[in-house]
Amino acid sequence: MQEELFNIQRQISRRRFLTRTSMGLGALAFGGLTGSTLMGQHPGSDPMGKILADRGLHFPPKAKRVVYLFQSGGPSQIDLFDYKPVLEKMHGKDLPDSVRKGQRLTGMSAGQSSIPVAASYFSFKQYGQSGAWVSELMPYTAEIVDELCFIKSMHTEAINHDPAITFFQSGNQQAGRPSIGAWVSYGLGSDNENLPTFIVLVSKNAGGQPLYARLWGNGFLPSRHQGVQFRSGKDPVLFLNNPDGYDAADRKSMLGYLKQLNALQQDTYLDPEIENRMAQYEMAYRMQASVPEVTDMKDEPDWVYDMYGPDSRDPGTYAANCLLARRLLERDVKFVQLYHQGWDQHNFLPGAIRNQCKKTDQATAALVKDLKQRGMLEDTLVIWGGEFGRTVYSQGKLTKDNYGRDHHPRCFTMWMAGAGVKAGMSFGETDDFSYNIIKDPVHVHDFQATLMHLMGVDHERLTFKHQGRRYRLTDVHGHVVKDILT
């Protein structure tokens, strides 16, 4: 790799190199910022610093890879993890103004004539050594709480899905900025030359609030950093399959000729971009083999399927995607993001959330267990969470066994597990109504800063200049949540 880089460098200027090179070389994104030159002539002589910087790192990373299980729609913290016994007494009474404090509501419930408190329909128990509270909805997650670090004090700025999810994934409520995975790819490059750095899996067994390609988009970063959606079916990556009948050997010969043809062009034009493009063709060719190899899960033993649950045999389901995620992580794909829609329970919440948990709980827990068994949890960061939480008051009519909850940005629960994160921990606290945070608030930008930190990146130093300004994932905010780090 180093050898290759030197060769390329001989031919082109550093700047051109930085803007044009492809996967695997993302480490160089830092070249212009750290004052280092291309190949490690860093100020000082700290050999560790040099190695880190070569790989685009500011700190020794705890996490080599991330799997982010995004629960789209906004799961109800009140019905899952943020246990509030006081609510039973308040059930049916209007949320006190002293709690709401005049904060804005969405246009969906702002017009409501009353906002009655709805205690959770579900029972809670404490689990594990850590004694974490988990509702009856998540029996499998309950089994792994000692691996998890719950953040009960997440908060965000947006109160509607589109801006909130865009904010979570790109650090800005309006479309146009790069997604977290794209920043990771830009900052750290790839550890696997045969698979994309950033892979996205969307559950087919869910519907709900829309998703957008920008959530895994590259924004203004070069397009190679965009997340590649793997889809179930015969063409997991767009245009992966050769024309019918034309097999890998045929393609290899064809590319051999293409390489020779390009070499003739190169002799005349001396443009290193020609070689670079040919390298991309070679990687495409390798992907044609490696993608089916990883997405075809027939070689998984029954006990694995049993652990992830029956859905895991049905490609494209959340459970199957969790299993596929583990296979991708095993191959050192740096950033795998799952999306599962359907947590937007404005009405009929008790029934809908039960269904939602059935589809996700077992496989989520299985993924954590599976990574642990394989010794991968120590350098893999697992994240579970949505774009905001839900209100303690009922949207729509509150009845004995039915209620809905509107969007609630002021507090919600996420969890992280694995690399560099304290296990069996609960961080942050909300008030008796799970409405306001009373201790250790964690803003979305803090979460993003922490994620980057765990990957060895200083969120303030990973920037990209675009339209006159140096942008970063966390805009001008974000503090690493040191208290949850090991």
Partner: protein, 803 residues
């Protein structure tokens, strides 16, 4: 289409910019001039239920400012949205002064769920439809005129008076003439005029319920809880051509400032208030009839209204689609209103629904209702009631019209009676019917006309403020249209609106507009601008590599009359451009980026060009100009993540230039996106140029490219001499002749592929069209081999990179 035509007609660039910025503000603007202003409306818009309307409206205005900066001024104005610009002399106040130019559009932050075109819009009326409309409008005008001129038969009128007509008419129970009469005295609630229609309390996701009966104005009435609405079973469905009147008694609670009294619609802003309503808004009565509020609507603000007592409210409408025809009566007296919007030009019904929502009382889905309010005696008429009728309903006959003594009538009373009498004449009734018939036709004709978003200035500009930290609701000082002190002065002679702004920008003295423009064309042709940061001419931008050249080009551009074609012609015919792009190794060492222009430019084709080039070279390209967007090939299922389904076109739609590809911002066309086409979420004037494995997969396997290769393979195979066929294919794709070595290599590959296909014919299936009328296997193998050769050339540097 407007933009394409403007380029083809070589519209002078200053005019091009002026029309797009402010075509609607030009004197007597033409349709084309108004249409051009769509430029400032093509930002992303949000229809998510529950968003804060103002938050998004502000985003739209901000987008216009940011676009102005990036596209015309080469300034990063958006950096000054939250605080003064860190590097350039643009204060936050400057930003919001620009903002105030674009802030006067009667638009909605949340757009309608049924994809109604976000307002304001321009009707794109076809000529034949326009002539039909003109004809109808003429007839309507004529009928109205004749109705106005009609004089009553005075003798008959006097006779009517003498016969006690007023008493008979004005003491009768008008309620029995209603189509909806809900006394609300017992349950279930029924329409006395149509017992099949009954009323029930409805609320989203909640079982229907009987209303609560309480003491009413007359016997019983019903109590409202603010969340559930009394649905009256489908009465009250009127289109905008139909006259109607709706009235009720209501007792409003003390501290209620906002809430809907009655409406016909579905939710509130969700469908941009499609339908009509009478509501409390900011403590005043508000009447609305909307296709898509706030622009395509009639909105009138009435007075405040008494609380904790029964008041009679009635809204009457004459079918004219004008604010003048929409009246509000409070306790039987017509009350003056302030007109906030008066351009209803499409229907107030939901065109695609089998069942229209009808009249609903006291609350609405995702809106505010009248909690604690009481209503009684709801009436719905399918005509526009005369003021005397309304008065009688509200206060009974308290003005002495029932007198037998005609001398006792005042002259104004007599005048009222005269108009009342006129209304009852059969001739008048006939005319009304005729007018309504014409209006119904006009309505259905207008409803099918396509619309397009345009700019339209509000009658009274909206006050703009500095928004602290860029927050939509954090008002700082008020600001007015103005430009930064660091730029040329905004002449006193210019109007302080978008037109003045366009004139300021395109003034020959302006230092930025022309430079930014010629620089962007330079970038288009050379791959990089003379100022590399074509989006930033500020202190953080790049310095021009050839400042004098930039100045000269800009000055020449202005002197040429902002002639774009001349500018491009000059650039591409220049000696500099026409140099060979083959570098010496010394030059490559000295100036790898070619900033000094010692050789010709080279650069990868853009996303659109890569595809268009393959289509053009293979003769698949359909060169039609203009028309609706098309849906070329795209892998199935991509739109599923947000609930859509992409259905590719067949035939010509597959082969139009990429410019015409249907663009869905949330899931852009993958073929183009993979080659660095921006998502179009925001203004972008510069693209990254990357090289990725996904690009390789597109060029190798995307059906657009395999099909193009196949067409070229067919053509190649027709040459008696293979190397001639290869040469022709190579030239078409790369624009140059293949060298001897290249021909030899490709000939060798052809032999190789042919051999492979001969050994295993199944290998070629994917390369050939299934309907190919050739049965000779050897021939098929040759065609397939040629197809692979064409694909190889298509994937080569010679095709992808302009050199």
């Amino acid at each position: 289409d407007w933009v394409i035509k403007a380029f083809n007609d070589n519209m002078p660039y200053d005019q091009f910019v002026t029309w797009q910025m402010a075509g609607d503000l030009l004197p007597n603007p033409t349709r084309e001039q108004i249409l051009a202003t769509g430029f400032n409306r093509n930002h992303s818009q949000n229809m998510e239920g529950g968003i804060v309307n103002e938050e998004y409206r502000v985003e739209y205005v901000a987008d216009r400012v940011n676009t102005l900066g990036a596209a015309f001024l080469g300034l990063t104005l958006e950096c000054a949205r939250c605080h003064d610009h860190k590097y350039d002399p643009i204060s936050q106040k400057d930003y919001y002064q620009f903002f105030s130019f674009f802030n006067n559009v009667q638009e909605s932050g949340q757009i309608s769920w049924d994809n109604a075109m976000p307002v304001p819009t321009l009707l794109l009326t076809e000529e034949d439809v326009q002539s039909r409309l003109d004809y109808l409008n003429q007839d309507i005008a004529a009928a109205l005129a004749s109705m106005k001129e009609r004089t009553i038969d005075e003798a008959a009128f006097e006779q009517w008076l003498a016969d006690g007509g007023p008493k008979k008419k004005l003491t009768r129970d008008i309620r029995s003439e209603a189509i909806g009469w809900f006394p609300l005295d017992k349950l279930p609630v029924r329409n006395r005029r149509n017992p099949r229609q009954s009323g029930i309390m409805k609320q989203q996701f909640t079982p229907d319920a009987q209303p609560d009966l309480v003491a009413g104005k007359d016997k019983k009435g019903i109590l409202l809880n603010g969340d559930a609405w009394l649905d009256l079973g489908g009465v009250g469905v009127f289109d905008r051509s139909m006259p109607f009147s709706i009235g009720l008694w209501i007792n409003l609670p003390e501290d209620m400032t906002d809430g809907v009294i009655f409406h016909k619609g579905d939710g509130a802003i969700i469908f941009n208030f499609r339908g009509y309503h009478l509501a409390l808004k900011d403590n005043r009565l508000q009447m609305m009839m909307a296709h898509s509020a706030p622009y395509n609507a009639i909105i009138e603000m009435g007075p405040e209204v008494a609380r904790e007592q029964w008041v009679h409210l009635m809204m009457t409408y004459d079918g004219s689609s004008t604010a003048k025809g929409l009246q509000l009566y409070l306790n039987g007296k017509e009350v003056p209103t302030r007109i906030e919007s008066d351009h209803l030009y499409k229907d107030i019904l939901f065109p695609e629904r089998d069942k229209q929502p009808g009249l609903q009382i006291g609350a609405r889905w995702r809106g505010q209702g009248i909690k604690g309010g009481k209503v009684d005696d709801i009436l719905v008429f399918d005509r526009c009631l005369h003021p005397l009728d309304v008065q009688q309903l509200a206060i009974g006959n308290q003005q002495g019209f029932d007198t037998e003594d005609l001398q006792a009538l005042s002259s104004s009373q007599k005048q009222q009676l005269r108009s009342y009498y006129a209304m009852t004449e059969t001739g008048h009734q006939r005319e009304l019917k005729q007018i309504q018939k014409l209006r119904a036709k006009q309505n259905s004709t207008a409803d099918s006309i396509e619309e397009v978003m345009v700019m339209a200035e509000m009658d009274h500009p909206r006050q703009a403020y500095i928004l602290e930290r860029g927050q939509y609701d954090a008002y700082g000082d008020s600001v007015f249209p103005a430009t930064p002190a660091s730029l040329p002065a905004f002449s006193q002679d210019l109007p302080r609106n978008r037109l003045g702004l366009a004139q300021w920008m395109t003034s020959p003295e302006h230092p930025l507009t022309a430079r930014v423009t010629v620089n962007r064309y330079w970038q288009m042709i050379w791959g990089k601008g003379l100022v590399k940061s074509s989006d930033d001419f500020g202190n953080q931008g790049d310095l021009p590599s050839h400042p004098e050249l930039l100045d000269w080009l800009a000055a020449d551009f202005i002197e040429s009359g902002w002639d774009i074609k001349a500018l491009i012609r000059m650039m591409v015919l220049s000696k500099t451009y026409r140099q060979s792009s083959i570098p010496s190794s010394e030059l490559m060492e000295l100036d790898p980026e070619n900033r000094m222009l010692a050789r010709g430019p080279s650069g990868r084709l853009s996303a659109e060009m890569v595809r268009d080039q393959a289509l053009a070279a293979s003769a698949l390209l359909v060169p039609t100009i203009g028309g609706p967007s098309v849906k070329p090939y795209q892998p199935a299922g991509l739109w599923r993540v947000n609930g859509g389904k992409y259905e590719a076109d067949s035939g010509e739609g597959l082969y139009r230039r990429s410019l015409y590809t249907f663009w869905k911002r949330t899931i852009p066309n993958p073929t183009q996106r993979t080659f660095d086409a921006p998502t179009r979420s925001r203004c972008s004037v510069r693209r990254e140029e990357t090289s990725t494995p996904l690009q390789a997969l597109v060029l190798l396997n995307d059906p657009t490219f395999t099909e193009a290769a196949y067409q070229m393979g067919l053509a190649m195979n027709k040459y008696a001499n293979l190397s001639e066929g290869i040469q022709q294919c190579f030239r078409l794709l790369s624009g140059r002749k293949a060298s001897q070595k290249e021909i030899e290599l490709l000939t060798e590959q052809h032999a190789f592929e042919w051999e492979a296909f001969s050994q295993d014919p199944g290998r070629k299936n994917g390369w050939l069209a299934s309907d190919l009328a050739v049965s000779d296997t050897a021939e098929l193998n040759r065609i397939a081999a040629c197809t692979v050769i064409a694909s190889t050339i298509m994937n080569s540097d010679a095709s992808l990179v302009k050199r």
